[in-house]
Amino acid sequence: MKDGESALWIIAINFALLSLIAVGGINPILPELHRQAVDAHGWMSSARFTDLFAIAQGAPGPNILVVTLIGWDVAGVPGALVATAAICGPSCVLAYFVSRIWDRFRLARWRNAIQAGLVPVTVGLVAAGAYILARTADTSFLAFAITVITAAALFFTRIHPLLFLAAGAAFGLAGML
Protein backbone atom coordinates (compact mmCIF):
# COMPACT_ATOMS: atom_id res chain seq x y z
CA MET A 1 0.00 0.00 0.00
CA LYS A 2 3.02 2.22 0.34
CA ASP A 3 3.06 2.89 -3.40
CA GLY A 4 -0.66 3.65 -3.47
CA GLU A 5 -0.25 6.11 -0.64
CA SER A 6 2.63 7.95 -2.24
CA ALA A 7 0.68 8.14 -5.52
CA LEU A 8 -2.21 9.77 -3.61
CA TRP A 9 0.16 12.38 -2.19
CA ILE A 10 1.65 13.08 -5.60
CA ILE A 11 -1.85 13.48 -7.06
CA ALA A 12 -2.98 15.70 -4.21
CA ILE A 13 -0.02 18.09 -4.38
CA ASN A 14 0.45 18.26 -8.15
CA PHE A 15 -3.21 18.57 -9.06
CA ALA A 16 -3.74 21.21 -6.38
CA LEU A 17 -0.98 23.27 -8.01
CA LEU A 18 -2.48 22.72 -11.47
CA SER A 19 -5.82 23.89 -10.09
CA LEU A 20 -4.36 27.35 -9.51
CA ILE A 21 -2.75 27.75 -12.93
CA ALA A 22 -5.63 26.36 -15.01
CA VAL A 23 -6.84 29.71 -16.36
CA GLY A 24 -9.37 28.79 -19.04
CA GLY A 25 -10.14 25.33 -17.64
CA ILE A 26 -8.67 21.97 -18.51
CA ASN A 27 -7.12 22.69 -21.92
CA PRO A 28 -4.14 24.79 -20.84
CA ILE A 29 -3.04 22.15 -18.29
CA LEU A 30 -3.55 19.06 -20.50
CA PRO A 31 0.09 18.93 -21.66
CA GLU A 32 1.29 19.12 -18.07
CA LEU A 33 -1.21 16.44 -16.98
CA HIS A 34 0.04 14.22 -19.79
CA ARG A 35 3.65 14.86 -18.84
CA GLN A 36 3.00 13.95 -15.21
CA ALA A 37 0.85 10.86 -15.85
CA VAL A 38 2.91 9.41 -18.70
CA ASP A 39 6.48 10.68 -18.47
CA ALA A 40 7.20 11.85 -14.94
CA HIS A 41 5.46 9.13 -12.92
CA GLY A 42 4.93 6.42 -15.52
CA TRP A 43 1.34 5.82 -14.37
CA MET A 44 0.05 4.98 -17.85
CA SER A 45 0.90 4.82 -21.55
CA SER A 46 0.20 7.77 -23.81
CA ALA A 47 -2.51 5.75 -25.59
CA ARG A 48 -4.25 5.04 -22.29
CA PHE A 49 -4.12 8.74 -21.39
CA THR A 50 -5.77 9.57 -24.73
CA ASP A 51 -8.45 6.94 -24.11
CA LEU A 52 -9.19 8.29 -20.65
CA PHE A 53 -9.45 11.81 -22.05
CA ALA A 54 -11.92 10.62 -24.71
CA ILE A 55 -14.04 8.83 -22.11
CA ALA A 56 -14.09 11.89 -19.86
CA GLN A 57 -15.14 14.08 -22.79
CA GLY A 58 -18.01 11.73 -23.52
CA ALA A 59 -19.21 11.79 -19.92
CA PRO A 60 -21.48 14.55 -18.57
CA GLY A 61 -20.11 17.12 -16.15
CA PRO A 62 -17.34 19.70 -15.94
CA ASN A 63 -14.54 19.02 -18.47
CA ILE A 64 -11.92 19.31 -15.78
CA LEU A 65 -13.10 15.96 -14.36
CA VAL A 66 -10.79 14.11 -16.72
CA VAL A 67 -8.49 14.24 -13.69
CA THR A 68 -11.04 12.17 -11.74
CA LEU A 69 -10.61 9.39 -14.26
CA ILE A 70 -6.81 9.68 -14.16
CA GLY A 71 -6.95 9.54 -10.36
CA TRP A 72 -9.17 6.48 -10.54
CA ASP A 73 -6.88 4.75 -12.99
CA VAL A 74 -3.85 5.37 -10.76
CA ALA A 75 -5.26 4.70 -7.31
CA GLY A 76 -8.87 3.52 -7.49
CA VAL A 77 -11.75 5.30 -5.77
CA PRO A 78 -9.49 7.12 -3.27
CA GLY A 79 -7.44 8.31 -6.25
CA ALA A 80 -10.57 9.59 -8.00
CA LEU A 81 -11.74 11.47 -4.92
CA VAL A 82 -8.33 12.93 -4.08
CA ALA A 83 -7.77 14.02 -7.70
CA THR A 84 -11.21 15.68 -7.86
CA ALA A 85 -10.75 17.48 -4.54
CA ALA A 86 -7.24 18.61 -5.50
CA ILE A 87 -8.18 20.01 -8.91
CA CYS A 88 -11.37 21.71 -7.63
CA GLY A 89 -10.49 22.76 -4.09
CA PRO A 90 -7.85 25.47 -4.42
CA SER A 91 -9.48 27.25 -7.39
CA CYS A 92 -12.91 27.14 -5.74
CA VAL A 93 -11.57 28.59 -2.48
CA LEU A 94 -9.83 31.33 -4.48
CA ALA A 95 -13.06 32.03 -6.40
CA TYR A 96 -14.94 32.26 -3.11
CA PHE A 97 -12.63 34.88 -1.63
CA VAL A 98 -12.29 36.88 -4.83
CA SER A 99 -16.06 36.92 -5.10
CA ARG A 100 -16.32 38.28 -1.54
CA ILE A 101 -13.84 41.04 -2.31
CA TRP A 102 -15.73 41.70 -5.55
CA ASP A 103 -18.94 42.24 -3.61
CA ARG A 104 -17.35 44.39 -0.95
CA PHE A 105 -16.00 46.78 -3.59
CA ARG A 106 -19.03 46.74 -5.85
CA LEU A 107 -19.28 50.50 -5.71
CA ALA A 108 -15.58 51.09 -6.33
CA ARG A 109 -14.67 52.53 -9.68
CA TRP A 110 -11.67 50.22 -10.26
CA ARG A 111 -13.87 47.20 -9.64
CA ASN A 112 -16.53 48.33 -12.10
CA ALA A 113 -13.88 49.19 -14.69
CA ILE A 114 -12.40 45.71 -14.40
CA GLN A 115 -15.84 44.15 -14.63
CA ALA A 116 -16.86 46.29 -17.59
CA GLY A 117 -13.54 45.63 -19.31
CA LEU A 118 -13.60 41.87 -18.84
CA VAL A 119 -17.11 41.25 -20.21
CA PRO A 120 -16.40 42.04 -23.88
CA VAL A 121 -13.13 40.07 -23.82
CA THR A 122 -15.03 37.13 -22.33
CA VAL A 123 -17.72 37.32 -25.01
CA GLY A 124 -15.00 37.30 -27.68
CA LEU A 125 -13.23 34.36 -26.05
CA VAL A 126 -16.44 32.32 -25.77
CA ALA A 127 -17.15 33.02 -29.43
CA ALA A 128 -13.60 31.97 -30.35
CA GLY A 129 -14.03 28.79 -28.33
CA ALA A 130 -17.27 28.09 -30.18
CA TYR A 131 -15.59 28.66 -33.54
CA ILE A 132 -12.65 26.38 -32.72
CA LEU A 133 -14.93 23.63 -31.35
CA ALA A 134 -17.11 23.79 -34.46
CA ARG A 135 -14.12 23.75 -36.80
CA THR A 136 -12.71 20.69 -35.03
CA ALA A 137 -16.01 18.82 -34.79
CA ASP A 138 -17.48 19.58 -38.22
CA THR A 139 -15.48 17.22 -40.41
CA SER A 140 -18.46 16.35 -42.62
CA PHE A 141 -21.50 18.14 -43.99
CA LEU A 142 -23.81 16.23 -41.65
CA ALA A 143 -21.71 17.17 -38.62
CA PHE A 144 -21.84 20.80 -39.74
CA ALA A 145 -25.62 20.52 -40.11
CA ILE A 146 -25.91 19.11 -36.56
CA THR A 147 -23.91 22.08 -35.23
CA VAL A 148 -26.06 24.64 -37.08
CA ILE A 149 -29.38 23.02 -36.16
CA THR A 150 -28.38 22.62 -32.50
CA ALA A 151 -27.23 26.24 -32.32
CA ALA A 152 -30.45 27.52 -33.92
CA ALA A 153 -32.57 25.37 -31.61
CA LEU A 154 -30.88 26.64 -28.44
CA PHE A 155 -30.98 30.23 -29.66
CA PHE A 156 -34.57 30.39 -30.94
CA THR A 157 -36.51 27.64 -29.14
CA ARG A 158 -36.96 26.15 -25.70
CA ILE A 159 -36.40 22.56 -26.84
CA HIS A 160 -34.10 20.71 -24.45
CA PRO A 161 -30.56 20.78 -25.95
CA LEU A 162 -29.87 17.22 -24.75
CA LEU A 163 -32.17 16.02 -27.53
CA PHE A 164 -29.76 17.35 -30.15
CA LEU A 165 -26.71 15.90 -28.43
CA ALA A 166 -28.44 12.50 -28.36
CA ALA A 167 -29.29 12.81 -32.04
CA GLY A 168 -25.65 13.66 -32.75
CA ALA A 169 -24.49 10.63 -30.78
CA ALA A 170 -26.92 8.41 -32.72
CA PHE A 171 -25.60 9.66 -36.08
CA GLY A 172 -22.06 9.08 -34.83
CA LEU A 173 -22.83 5.55 -33.64
CA ALA A 174 -24.46 4.80 -36.98
CA GLY A 175 -21.13 5.70 -38.58
CA MET A 176 -22.61 8.55 -40.60
CA LEU A 177 -20.23 11.30 -39.50
Binding site: L20, A22, V23, G24, D51, L52, A54, I55, A59, P60, G61, P62, N63, I64, L65, T68, L69, W72, D73, A80, L81, I87, S91, C92, L94, A95, Y96, V98, R106, R109, N112, A113, I114, Q115, G117, L118, P120, V121, T122, V123, G124, L125, A127, A128, G129, A130, A134, I146, T150, A151, A153, L154, P161, L162, L165, A167, F171, G172, L173, L177
Partner: protein, 190 residues
Protein backbone atom coordinates in the same frame (compact mmCIF):
# COMPACT_ATOMS: atom_id res chain seq x y z
CA UNK B 1 -21.85 49.55 -18.98
CA UNK B 2 -24.62 50.30 -16.53
CA UNK B 3 -23.71 51.17 -13.00
CA UNK B 4 -26.15 49.06 -11.02
CA UNK B 5 -24.50 46.62 -8.63
CA UNK B 6 -24.55 43.24 -10.29
CA UNK B 7 -24.53 40.92 -7.32
CA UNK B 8 -27.13 42.51 -5.09
CA UNK B 9 -29.93 42.38 -4.31
CA UNK B 10 -30.50 38.73 -5.14
CA UNK B 11 -33.64 38.08 -7.10
CA UNK B 12 -36.34 36.75 -4.79
CA UNK B 13 -36.98 34.18 -3.61
CA UNK B 14 -33.57 33.06 -2.44
CA UNK B 15 -33.16 29.40 -3.37
CA UNK B 16 -32.66 26.89 -0.56
CA UNK B 17 -29.51 24.76 -0.29
CA UNK B 18 -31.47 21.77 -1.58
CA UNK B 19 -32.64 23.77 -4.60
CA UNK B 20 -29.08 24.94 -5.30
CA UNK B 21 -27.80 21.37 -5.13
CA UNK B 22 -30.52 20.04 -7.41
CA UNK B 23 -30.21 22.90 -9.89
CA UNK B 24 -26.48 22.34 -10.38
CA UNK B 25 -26.81 18.54 -10.34
CA UNK B 26 -29.45 18.87 -13.03
CA UNK B 27 -27.16 20.76 -15.40
CA UNK B 28 -24.10 18.64 -14.58
CA UNK B 29 -25.79 15.38 -15.44
CA UNK B 30 -27.02 16.53 -18.86
CA UNK B 31 -23.85 18.54 -19.58
CA UNK B 32 -22.29 16.39 -22.28
CA UNK B 33 -19.54 18.22 -24.12
CA UNK B 34 -19.64 21.12 -21.63
CA UNK B 35 -21.94 22.16 -18.80
CA UNK B 36 -21.86 25.87 -19.52
CA UNK B 37 -24.68 26.23 -22.10
CA UNK B 38 -26.94 24.17 -19.85
CA UNK B 39 -25.97 26.25 -16.83
CA UNK B 40 -26.75 29.53 -18.61
CA UNK B 41 -30.09 28.14 -19.75
CA UNK B 42 -30.90 27.14 -16.16
CA UNK B 43 -29.70 30.35 -14.50
CA UNK B 44 -31.01 32.94 -16.96
CA UNK B 45 -33.90 31.37 -18.85
CA UNK B 46 -35.46 28.77 -16.59
CA UNK B 47 -34.94 29.74 -12.94
CA UNK B 48 -34.29 33.42 -13.76
CA UNK B 49 -31.74 33.70 -10.95
CA UNK B 50 -29.78 36.20 -13.02
CA UNK B 51 -30.28 38.50 -16.00
CA UNK B 52 -28.30 38.13 -19.22
CA UNK B 53 -26.05 41.01 -18.12
CA UNK B 54 -25.50 39.54 -14.67
CA UNK B 55 -24.60 36.21 -16.23
CA UNK B 56 -22.02 37.88 -18.48
CA UNK B 57 -20.47 39.65 -15.49
CA UNK B 58 -20.42 36.59 -13.23
CA UNK B 59 -19.09 34.39 -16.00
CA UNK B 60 -16.36 36.91 -16.88
CA UNK B 61 -15.07 36.72 -13.33
CA UNK B 62 -15.39 32.91 -13.36
CA UNK B 63 -13.50 32.66 -16.65
CA UNK B 64 -10.56 34.85 -15.65
CA UNK B 65 -10.02 32.99 -12.39
CA UNK B 66 -8.05 29.73 -12.56
CA UNK B 67 -9.88 26.41 -12.44
CA UNK B 68 -12.93 25.07 -14.25
CA UNK B 69 -15.00 28.11 -15.20
CA UNK B 70 -18.27 26.29 -14.49
CA UNK B 71 -17.00 25.44 -10.99
CA UNK B 72 -16.09 29.07 -10.37
CA UNK B 73 -19.52 30.13 -11.61
CA UNK B 74 -21.16 27.69 -9.18
CA UNK B 75 -19.07 29.19 -6.35
CA UNK B 76 -20.17 32.73 -7.29
CA UNK B 77 -23.85 31.84 -7.63
CA UNK B 78 -23.93 29.63 -4.53
CA UNK B 79 -22.19 32.26 -2.43
CA UNK B 80 -24.45 35.03 -3.66
CA UNK B 81 -27.56 33.19 -2.48
CA UNK B 82 -26.39 31.20 0.54
CA UNK B 83 -22.84 32.25 1.48
CA UNK B 84 -20.03 29.75 2.01
CA UNK B 85 -22.41 26.84 2.52
CA UNK B 86 -24.21 27.80 -0.68
CA UNK B 87 -20.96 27.83 -2.64
CA UNK B 88 -20.03 24.42 -1.25
CA UNK B 89 -23.50 23.05 -2.03
CA UNK B 90 -23.52 24.32 -5.61
CA UNK B 91 -20.08 22.82 -6.27
CA UNK B 92 -21.09 19.54 -4.61
CA UNK B 93 -24.17 19.45 -6.83
CA UNK B 94 -22.01 20.00 -9.88
CA UNK B 95 -19.56 17.23 -8.93
CA UNK B 96 -21.52 14.44 -7.19
CA UNK B 97 -23.11 12.68 -10.14
CA UNK B 98 -20.30 13.24 -12.70
CA UNK B 99 -17.66 11.89 -10.31
CA UNK B 100 -19.72 8.74 -9.74
CA UNK B 101 -20.29 8.36 -13.49
CA UNK B 102 -16.58 8.87 -14.13
CA UNK B 103 -15.67 6.09 -11.69
CA UNK B 104 -18.22 3.72 -13.29
CA UNK B 105 -16.79 4.52 -16.73
CA UNK B 106 -13.30 3.88 -15.39
CA UNK B 107 -14.42 0.47 -14.15
CA UNK B 108 -16.02 -0.34 -17.49
CA UNK B 109 -12.89 0.77 -19.35
CA UNK B 110 -10.61 -1.32 -17.11
CA UNK B 111 -12.85 -4.30 -17.83
CA UNK B 112 -13.30 -3.97 -21.59
CA UNK B 113 -10.25 -1.91 -22.40
CA UNK B 114 -11.53 -0.31 -25.56
CA UNK B 115 -13.53 2.75 -26.49
CA UNK B 116 -14.50 2.18 -30.14
CA UNK B 117 -18.21 2.98 -29.82
CA UNK B 118 -17.49 5.84 -27.42
CA UNK B 119 -15.33 7.47 -30.05
CA UNK B 120 -18.00 7.18 -32.77
CA UNK B 121 -20.72 8.62 -30.54
CA UNK B 122 -18.39 11.40 -29.41
CA UNK B 123 -17.95 12.69 -32.94
CA UNK B 124 -21.69 13.41 -33.03
CA UNK B 125 -21.88 14.76 -29.50
CA UNK B 126 -19.01 17.13 -30.26
CA UNK B 127 -20.84 18.51 -33.30
CA UNK B 128 -23.93 19.18 -31.18
CA UNK B 129 -21.94 20.54 -28.24
CA UNK B 130 -20.19 22.99 -30.58
CA UNK B 131 -23.63 24.21 -31.65
CA UNK B 132 -24.61 24.81 -28.03
CA UNK B 133 -21.53 26.97 -27.44
CA UNK B 134 -22.19 28.88 -30.67
CA UNK B 135 -25.70 29.70 -29.46
CA UNK B 136 -24.44 30.64 -26.02
CA UNK B 137 -21.84 32.95 -27.51
CA UNK B 138 -24.58 34.65 -29.55
CA UNK B 139 -26.74 35.05 -26.46
CA UNK B 140 -23.84 36.51 -24.49
CA UNK B 141 -23.17 38.97 -27.29
CA UNK B 142 -26.78 40.20 -27.30
CA UNK B 143 -26.46 42.62 -24.34
CA UNK B 144 -23.30 44.10 -25.91
CA UNK B 145 -25.02 44.58 -29.25
CA UNK B 146 -28.12 46.08 -27.63
CA UNK B 147 -26.04 48.78 -25.93
CA UNK B 148 -24.47 49.78 -29.25
CA UNK B 149 -21.24 50.61 -27.46
CA UNK B 150 -18.38 50.67 -29.95
CA UNK B 151 -15.34 50.02 -27.73
CA UNK B 152 -16.67 46.82 -26.10
CA UNK B 153 -17.68 45.52 -29.52
CA UNK B 154 -14.17 46.18 -30.85
CA UNK B 155 -12.62 44.43 -27.83
CA UNK B 156 -14.89 41.40 -28.31
CA UNK B 157 -14.01 41.17 -32.01
CA UNK B 158 -10.28 41.57 -31.20
CA UNK B 159 -10.45 38.78 -28.61
CA UNK B 160 -12.28 36.54 -31.07
CA UNK B 161 -9.86 37.22 -33.91
CA UNK B 162 -6.71 36.80 -31.83
CA UNK B 163 -7.74 33.35 -30.62
CA UNK B 164 -9.86 31.97 -33.48
CA UNK B 165 -8.10 33.43 -36.53
CA UNK B 166 -4.57 34.38 -35.44
CA UNK B 167 -4.49 31.35 -33.12
CA UNK B 168 -2.53 33.15 -30.42
CA UNK B 169 -2.23 31.42 -27.03
CA UNK B 170 -5.16 32.19 -24.75
CA UNK B 171 -3.00 33.36 -21.87
CA UNK B 172 -1.25 35.96 -24.07
CA UNK B 173 -4.52 37.25 -25.47
CA UNK B 174 -5.89 37.66 -21.96
CA UNK B 175 -2.70 39.29 -20.68
CA UNK B 176 -2.75 41.88 -23.48
CA UNK B 177 -6.44 42.53 -24.14
CA UNK B 178 -7.84 42.47 -20.59
CA UNK B 179 -5.74 45.43 -19.33
CA UNK B 180 -6.47 47.45 -22.49
CA UNK B 181 -10.17 46.75 -22.24
CA UNK B 182 -10.20 47.64 -18.54
CA UNK B 183 -8.30 50.86 -19.16
CA UNK B 184 -10.75 51.86 -21.88
CA UNK B 185 -13.70 50.99 -19.62
CA UNK B 186 -12.30 53.24 -16.89
CA UNK B 187 -13.72 56.39 -18.52
CA UNK B 188 -17.16 54.85 -18.92
CA UNK B 189 -17.83 53.68 -15.39
CA UNK B 190 -18.85 55.86 -12.43
Amino acid sequence: MTSFPAEIPPLEPRPSLATLFLAFSGVAIVGFGGVLPFARRMLVEQRKWMTAEEFNEAFSLAQFLPGGNILNLAVLVGRQFRGALGALTAVAGLLAAPVMIMILLGIAYARYGQIGAVHDALVGVAAGAAGLIVAMAAKMAEPLIRKRAVIPAVMAVLAFTSVAVAELPLIIVIAVLAPISIALAWREVP
